[in-house]
Symmetry: C2
Subunit: 138 residues, 2 copies
Amino acid sequence: MRKDSRLSRMLHVLVHLHQLQQAVTSDQLALMLHTNPVVVRRTMSLLREQGYVSAVKGHGGGWTLAKPLHEITLLDIHRSLSESSLFTIGLTDEHNNCPIEKAVNLAIDDVLQEAEALVLQRFGEVTLDKLAAGYIPR
Amino acid sequence: MRKDSRLSRMLHVLVHLHQLQQAVTSDQLALMLHTNPVVVRRTMSLLREQGYVSAVKGHGGGWTLAKPLHEITLLDIHRSLSESSLFTIGLTDEHNNCPIEKAVNLAIDDVLQEAEALVLQRFGEVTLDKLAAGYIPR
DNA sequence: TTTTATGTAACTTATGATGTTTCTTAATGT
DNA sequence: ACATTAAGAAACATCATAAGTTACATAAAA
């Protein structure tokens, strides 16, 4: 399955925006991400809607941070991007009455929910200024 | 992204094979899973290669368990099915020298690896006989 | 008014599980 | 022997979604 690399890309962009301290165009960001400016706008607009970045049109325009990095967590950006599940694993027909199928799905879902809670908690613990300073793994 | 429901489907099948105590054809399993027999063979063959089920051709043939349920864990089946990642989240160009990108990917990967380890550990703790008996969530 | 840059719609591509058709191979029953 | 049953396997279509692309509208500054 194709991976969703938007979180990685957006974090990368946000830290650069902080360091450059000036408006950066979608074309410039696209070069940085090895993609094209429409993909940049499409993804960045989700962060704009949540108030993490601002966009200005016309000469000298582009994207700037709307909040300092220490006020943004990985969880904030993750939530801005995805409504879809974190896992590639899915369950089967939940409208089925087979008790075995229900037990199977319950067991899998139980584990995935615990893992998702862990991911969200860890993402919430990391502010973006920690990435700018050079992230140190646990 | 389309979800991978093979784990859910295969666990369901294995518990039924245990309860039926006789060879079950791919056609019968396909009815049970609301799919078709080719999909069943394709997925079950991965479990056969790992020694969890046996297949017999011809009259009276079909699929049977090759190991008792208490000797099979969710992890065993998960490993038999997937070489691909558990997560829909992916990282960007790892051949890039940008230190910010590296820090971002390290931070995300750190969290995902911890979560994946948790999933694998939990899957390894659950044997399939627990599903047959009616799984009780934590 | 020209240039620059975002905003947006519409369409194509890539990926991998799933679905489907068709044929081959092997084992059993008559 | 021959028909039937069932797995094995190849080839191709479908689906969903991020990503990529093209084209044009809108707004702001030179």
